[in-house]
């Protein structure tokens, strides 16, 4: 990535690998090489211990009791919210909503917009979106009569900015794009996208599922109206995610689900809703998940997210150069600004065959359409192989990957 990643400290890979118990195992007889980080990252023991300690010593329901354990659990959970707030540089803790994940966050916003849209209003998404950032908007359009518009992409897998400018109008009410494409690794020019949408008074939601683990995100500098991500792609637990929303926007949206915690007063005639963030957090939440996410944020902040990104960037370039020497690799997604994701095919080989043979050699990559069927349709391919790197990956692992690819290819051709 050629963005402004300024590393001031090189990651000590061997040392950080010690933090990840899962990495030290054999798969099909070979040491595991885990290159499926864009699907989900592994968990450091700091996160695992935070969750296990919570269940061992601190568990209680939150926001409800006056007893000591409940107060402690509440404090831990709210501390985690504060950590996420600082991590994103959000102005206020109440602008950080805990959800189930990126998908949960997007659905919350899409549901909320039901009351704000009228027939003929327009929502802009992009060709590069994950199904999670397509389907909720299609459903919203069906509910409201709004129209979905799509920013096209070019051969390199970059959004065609001029086309975006043409799509924008006074009818545009919302723009939802990802910061980094999970299928191709493209880093989108979201600062420009946000600024331009704001000129038309449209709100902007950024799907940050693939970005927060790779480089520093500052929602105030970006001026994003909504920014969402999943804990499990940031070294945290599954089943928890974040919706950052500007207070003014969150206040405009009606509650998503009804239940405990989200109310102020309930009578059978009328219920009044609680303030932010509780208005959007009905029911007993994933307390351990929130605390685990807090630990994950601590972990990545200690390493320095830009240091992490710089090492992943080095791995990306190292891998691409090595793969080019094979002479048979077709790359999909060759954007100038790119995160450590390599989508590719081997000439003459089906991705499932290659994926299965890599797995036999202990190497985990993703095969398929990566929940981005429109991108695959654009290239007229059924899917790709995708290797995606984390800071705990090494150049030696990439060397093994290259050898394994050569072997797979020899078997298949």
């Amino acid at each position: 990535m050629d963005l402004a990643i300024q590393a001031n400290q090189k990651i000590d890979v061997q040392k950080v690998r010690e933090d990840f118990p899962v990495l030290h195992q054999k798969v099909n007889g070979s040491p595991l090489v885990y290159f499926d980080n864009a699907a989900s990252t592994q968990k450091p023991k700091q996160v695992i211990e935070a969750i296990s300690n919570y269940y061992k010593y601190e568990h209680s329901n939150i926001h409800r009791g006056v007893h000591t354990l409940s107060l402690k659990a509440t404090e831990k959970y709210e501390n985690a919210r504060g950590k996420v707030q600082a991590f994103l540089n959000a102005p206020k803790p109440e602008e950080i909503i805990f959800t189930k994940g990126t998908t949960g966050s997007i659905n919350l916003v899409a549901n909320g917009f039901t009351t704000l849209l009228k027939p003929g209003d327009e929502i802009i998404i992009s060709y590069l979106e994950h199904h999670s950032n397509i389907v909720p908007w299609q459903m919203l359009c069906e509910r409201t009569g709004a129209i979905l518009k799509v920013i096209p992409m070019n051969e390199a897998g970059e959004l065609i900015y001029a086309e975006y400018e043409k799509l924008l109008s006074r009818k545009t009410k919302l723009v939802a794009v990802n910061h980094v494409s999970n299928a191709l690794g493209t880093i989108n020019p979201i600062q420009q996208i946000i600024n331009q949408a704001h000129q038309y008074g449209a709100a902007v939601l950024i799907d940050g599922a693939q970005s927060v683990s790779h480089f520093k995100v500052d929602v105030q500098a970006l001026n994003a109206d909504f920014y969402v991500f999943s804990a499990h792609k940031l070294y945290g637990p599954t089943g928890v995610g974040i919706l950052f929303g500007k207070e003014e926007w969150l206040n405009k949206l009606p509650p998503y689900q009804g239940g405990g915690d989200m109310i102020k007063t309930v009578t059978f005639e009328k219920t009044t809703y609680n303030e932010l963030p509780h208005k959007f957090e009905a029911g007993t939440p994933n307390i351990a998940g929130g605390i685990g996410l807090g630990a994950a944020v601590d972990y990545i902040e200690t390493l320095g997210v830009n240091n992490v990104g710089a090492w992943e960037d080095e791995l990306l370039h190292y891998a691409v150069d090595k793969m080019k020497t094979l002479g048979t690799v077709r790359f999909y997604g060759t954007a100038k600004n790119k995160a450590a994701v390599i989508s590719f095919l081997l000439d003459g080989c089906h991705p499932y065959d290659v994926g299965a043979l890599l797995d036999q050699q202990g190497i985990a990559v993703r095969t398929g359409h990566h929940c981005t069927q429109p991108i695959m349709d654009w290239y007229k391919i059924p899917g790709t192989l995708r290797a995606s790197f984390s800071f705990y990956n090494t150049k030696e692992e990439i060397d093994k990957f290259i050898i394994a690819l050569e072997r797979a290819q020899k078997m298949l051709l």
Binding site: N28, G29, H350, Y352, L357, Q360, T367, P382, M411, L412
Partner: protein, 137 residues
């Protein structure tokens, strides 16, 4: 040859392989050598559901015997369906339905193919048996 005898042949064949790569190599070779799928049968309706890659299966009766033809865009799937076609094709529907296939477990395909693939394998068998039911009426 009966289904049982054909299964024994396959089990014997696989017993020579020392490691998993060798088994895969053999399956891939089977895939490469599976020909003769009628192009006009490469229809969406003939695609077996539940496989990660596209696998086509076509079946018809030749006298008393049920004949299977198959193809796939991925070689490993093609090799797997080739194994199944080798064992089950050219048998009567009644025999196909009454035989509980044991070779898949015996050659370790169950454990060693990733869950998605073994799902594919079970979808293949299910579809083949469904044809046998249809043709035995």
């Amino acid at each position: 040859m009966t289904i049982k005898e054909k299964e024994e042949e396959v089990i014997e064949e696989f017993s020579f392989f020392e490691d998993w790569m060798a088994k895969y190599e053999y399956i891939i070779d089977l895939g490469k050598n599976l020909n003769g799928y009628p192009p006009e049968q490469k229809t969406p309706e003939n695609i077996i559901k539940g496989c990660q890659s596209q696998v086509w299966l076509h079946a018809y009766m030749d006298g008393e015997k049920l004949i299977y033809k198959a193809d796939s865009d991925a070689l490993i799937s093609k090799g797997l369906i080739s194994l199944l076609v080798g064992v089950l094709s050219d048998q009567t529907p009644a025999d196909i339905l009454s035989n509980k296939l044991k070779f898949i477990e015996e050659i370790g395909l169950n454990e060693h193919l990733s869950p998605n693939r073994s799902n594919g394998l079970s979808s293949m068998i299910k579809t083949m048996k469904a044809y046998a039911i249809a043709f035995s009426k």
